[in-house]
Amino acid sequence: MTAAFRTTAAGRLKGAKPVKISFDGASYAALEGDTLASALLANGVHLMGRSFKYHRPRGVLSAGAEEPNALVGIHRDAARKTPNVRATVQEVYDGLTAVSQNRWPSLAFDVGAVNDIASPMFSAGFYYKTFMWPKAAWKSVYEPTIRASAGLGVAPDKPDPDHYASRYAHCDVLVLGGGAAGLSAALAAAETGARVIIADEQPAVGGALRFETGSTIDSAAGWDWAQATAVKLAAMDNVRVLTRTTAFGYYAQNMVGLVERVSDHLADPGHDLPRERLWQVRAKRVIIATGAIERHMVFDGNDKPGVMLASAGRTYLNHFGVLVGKNVGVFTASDSAYAAAIDLKQAGASIAAIVDLRDNPAGPLIDQARALGIEILSGRTLVRASGNLRVASMTVRATSGGPERTIPVDALLMSAGWTPSVHLFSQSRGKVAFDSATRRFLPGDYAQDCVSVGACSGTDTLADTVKDAVAAGEKAAKAAGLAKTVGTKVKAETSESWAGGMVGAAPGAGPDTTGKAFVDFQNDVTAKDIRLAVREGMRSIEHVKRFTTNGMATDQGKTSNIHGLAIAAEALGKEMPEVGLTTFRAPYTPVTFGSLVNHSKGRLFDPTRRTPFHAQEEKLGAVFEDVGQWKRAWYYPRAGEDMHAAVNRECATVRKAAGIFDASTLGKIEVVGPDAAKFMELMYTNPWEKLESGRCRYGIMLREDGFIYDDGVVGRLAADRFHVTTTTGGAARVMNHMEDYLQTEFPHLDVWLTSISEQWAVIAVQGPKSRDIIAPLVEGIDMSDGAMPHMSVREGKICGVPTRLFRMSFTGERGFEINVPADYAAAVWDAVWAQGQKHGACAYGTEAMHVLRAEKGYIIVGQDTDGTVTPQDAGLDWAVGKKKTDFVGIRGLKRPDLVAKGRKQLVGLRTKDPKVVLEEGAQIVADPKQPIPMKMLGHVTSSYWSENCGRSIALGVVTGGFERMGQTLYVPMPDKVIEVEVVGQVFFDEKGERLHG
């Protein structure tokens, strides 16, 4: 069965495979090669959508990417529901299912259309003015109602099941656009041997040759030449031809983002193909050949289904073999529409009349139309198009006024001329220049190594376009370093010119008229709205745009921006460039999140770092927490234990017997060289020169401003070798900080820095039994207290593998940290674990580690400090070398604010009720009865239940805290006020005897 409006008189789909598609549940016959729009039009279906604000019936405006009206949902399955797909771009496949949007209960009968009748209420900026009162109703009534009634498609509610590919590519010449200009340029560049990539958004190259059937290039029909040229290019080793590929963004240094739609046009894409492929292309030279977009005429009713661009009507006929109507009217201000009228007439449609704004149009196309017997009404304008769900008539009068004449039509083609597509040029940061003779914006000053050719640079004829493009292709190849030119020859003949046209509202839609003459179809902006914006005081086009939303829809004003600017300029009595042109931003057409997110989702979103003990910890039932990219064992619940019970047991066991802890995530840096000690003196507040080999010291690192940046225990392995540890989170930035100073401030020091975080895995064994557990496994190290006191480091062997064995403690107990090469770490853990079992040890996680260190008042940088805490504030003044003459931060520490009284200082907080555990981050005040906002003295930085103390413990920073010992302060919470006493930082074993016990 052939669809009713499919003609055999024209088109390129003859013999194509018939397929079935469905739109809003109805089934339609289509041909492979159709777009959804051409297939529906072939079946006489013009009504394809409802408008954003007024719910007006809408059909197709265009036959391409600029389409503002015919937006539909494409549903493949429950998860694959793509909203806002342009019917003019979506290729059909057998079984394609499309649904209309923004209508209820149906597309033909939409309750929301009441907005159109009530439209005087909804003029531009209406929501800024109308819904001001009562204030509370905005959130609960107005906004939800407006959001429900305005809008486009519905976002899918399931995760995207498709996969997307990503490629980086480099080339000498990247050609954007595969029309006559792009193909000619690509050919000329390619024949020099340059590496060329040419991309076109359509399924096939050809651009405007798709509808301009009269053109011939190299003695062939333009379209046939284009296809043959693409085949020729694709066969060359140095050329990549990408179709269905949109250049959506032009970035710095000739980096262009392309998205290739790989499988959206296939009935059954299968699992192997990606849905889309993102290309990030870096080109030495870029040739922009993006063509031009036809403008509509601005008159009352120009949005009725059946009213469309002349080039669209011509494309549907000449490419798809579809007559958009059988009695077609034409409204134009340029010659282009005549060619459409002639083609339709010759294909069997009747042309009701050509209404031409110009008084005396002349030229071969006009003569040809007249010869075909088409009535030409020159010096006339359309005052309105009428019809309900489809245009039914057009009403004509002289441009100067006078009597009206209504002519029945079933379709209406319009052309106000062509707007050069300067989007990508503008995105490249090139400056557009207004050409006052033709009243259009053209590429002006270039910011990058690119050039625009053809209609996008204002070239109006095919012959000039091809000639310029060949020259540009050769020049680009030469600029990219290709020396030879082969003298590519492409010759075009054409009788058509894209010159002329008009911008702004047609004479029938002037300031004195009341009809809806649409400027921006997708956002329902009329000529009247633009004038209102000017009356309301908007002076710049940027303000007009935001007030009216002109050009802010998903089509980004491809058809509307120039008209909107012209109307605003007229209302302001200024020239267009004085009012300004809004910025063209990426993406050129909407890009799926899927293609941009690409592989970076789920497990590939961010790397996961696991320590060498991860499997051992999993076996022990560890619950893991995320610490940056690390998975760290948080606690080890046993049967029947919740987190609280597990942490309590772990804390008690460490102090009673011993605990085994994975400390591998700590950052580790080896500082080596003759000047290693000198370098350490500069990087840390502490003195290092006199630290003996084999001993350790707790080091504090400051920034130049005097605030604590990091801390950690440092072991001196030899005179010229330090094993530095950092916080887990600080590992990378401390390395960067050290490298920065070493390379740029202290390059005279003979020092090398090596990150050894991943080389050494660390098992901490802490508790009174720690030495008994480890000693049997260790060779070559005397672990007696005399030979290896607290804060010492020895090199030897454990379980037969090298170890750097630290005697140190972050729990306050006798403790060791066993550094072993990561590759042997799991075996050593197993051996230590087996030993530990003999002594009643348990594994403990980061939560118990936190509690145990807080019982001892040991700080955690980044938790108890926040980048505004000095060593003095943290009670660590003892760690600052008083005799030192230089270290990073030495001057910062002396800044007036840092030595002033009343700084926040780190203190212990004891709740009056020992059972109450404070919330970390809770604010501390002196008087809980003061009015809100209260004056806060500080906040709680660390707070836990301490099983070992039998009560809650907390640390906090409090203004003048050291002088408040014994004071009662208050922590106001939403439901109560908690009384706390300011105490010292240490809650357990204040004398520190257990370190040696």
Binding site: Y251, A252, Q253, E704, N736, E739, T744, I890, G892
Partner: protein
């Protein structure tokens, strides 16, 4: 994404391999412990933040890991030149490609 020329690798590499490290040619005073509050403020806090040519530090952190200096136009983002740390501040005019 910018391409940045690492003067140590002598290669144009993508911006992803680099990290900006703030304004260049701000030397840490050798007698830093003795300088006045004003001098410290000038050294530590005050930056030129120019519209136009900016001399700044970069680190090829995911490459050779070296810090180096660059002259960049803060309006167009374009790099005019890069040079090794410790080399003299070059004189470059806006719009000039060194």
């Amino acid at each position: 994404m910018l391409l940045i020329h690492c003067p140590y690798c002598d290669e144009d590499r993508p911006e992803l391999e680099f990290r900006n490290a703030g304004e260049a040619h701000i030397a840490r005073p050798e007698n830093i412990a003795e300088i006045s509050d004003e001098e410290f403020a000038q050294f530590f806090f005050i930056r030129t933040n120019p519209k136009g040519l900016i001399y700044e530090r970069w680190r090829h952190i995911h490459g050779c890991a070296r810090f180096f200096n660059a002259v960049r136009d803060s309006v167009s983002d374009k790099f005019l030149m890069t040079y090794k740390a410790g080399e003299k501040r070059p004189t470059v005019k806006a719009g000039e490609k060194a």
